[in-house]
Symmetry: C2
Subunit: 190 residues, 2 copies
């Protein structure tokens, strides 16, 4: 049974709806691809927005593409304290009851009513990987990270799709806490 997979640290970023792209960047605007991400079809855009909360602002937050049905802002808890926005730990897309914030772009502003979350740690897996690891979609597993800041992440959600590439995603707080860098190998524990 396979056990090892690469980890990646997700820095703060924003997924935008078509409607919000219009408001922030202008009518008919399309995001410009800066580079492909590890998950097929996903990309880092050239565009950035400022994120404004009641206690502070974080400038130049990267936009990821393509556009999504709903705008979603993913920040670390460190960012959360800086902004004064209490981001709940949530799975991607689970936005009900999450707080909002203000997004500022070159063409306009959006006052979000919800959508600010701290992404729950998770593993993306292709269907073939899931078979090799002996897990299935929505399983909860543990992941062990070695080294001087070694730790075992519990409550790690497995997400399986033929559209995914094998990778564990943690936020910057989690990555720094474990002392890992992008691409380091970690161990799945069932």
């Amino acid at each position: 049974m396979r056990k090892e997979l690469p980890i990646a640290l997700s820095n703060r970023h924003v997924h935008l709806s078509e409607e919000h792209i219009k408001v922030l960047f202008g009518e008919g605007y399309e995001l410009t691809k800066k580079k492909d991400l590890s998950q097929p079809g996903q990309f880092a855009a050239e565009e950035k927005v400022d994120l404004v909360g009641p206690k502070g602002t974080i400038k130049g937050v990267r936009v990821l593409g393509p556009a999504r049905k709903e705008t979603q802002v993913e920040i670390s808890l460190t960012d959360s304290f800086k902004l004064g926005v209490k981001a709940p730990v949530r799975n991607s897309g689970d936005l009900d009851g999450s707080p909002g914030a203000k997004l500022v772009g070159p063409n306009g502003e959006v006052e979000l009513e919800k959508g600010v979350i701290a992404a729950a740690r998770h593993i993306h897996m292709h269907t073939d990987d899931a078979e090799e690891f002996g897990v299935k979609d929505k399983d909860i597993v543990k992941v062990k990270v070695g080294g001087e800041r070694g730790l075992v992440f519990e409550n790690v959600l497995v997400r399986v799709s033929p559209k995914y590439a094998l990778e564990m995603h943690v936020d910057i707080d989690e990555g720094n806490a474990a002392g890992v860098k992008n691409g380091e190998m970690v161990e799945l524990i069932k």
Copy 2:
């Protein structure tokens, strides 16, 4: 055998030598106690300094007292990237080969040659606690944190002294990664 102990998140802070207090705050200056910390004799001072690295500045970093033999700056890895100073993960006092940074106070500046570290996670224990937990000074243990961001910290150093009070110390990255707040109870695993 006891297993539970409280955890505390250490925000970035600076311990100063007598000599550096003079330079930063003026001849004959004494730190003003703002509040006592959990470890007997240690206190948060009213004084703050700015921390300057090649890539950025962090303003208003809290000074802790009393003065120490050597100046020591404790930051998170998140801070480390912001400053552009590569803080190694070290035990308190183990400063050889660590990088420096510039400290700016109201009376002057100090260009440190060393002393910037990311404090290694550790547990302070009174001698009596150590007996109850069945551990001794310099033991390496694990600590389990519950909740939605549950994890198990490995490589946790135990420090035992009749001058210590029972408490686990982690930095802000580690505390946020585990989703814990000051005073939450965690479990020691041998």
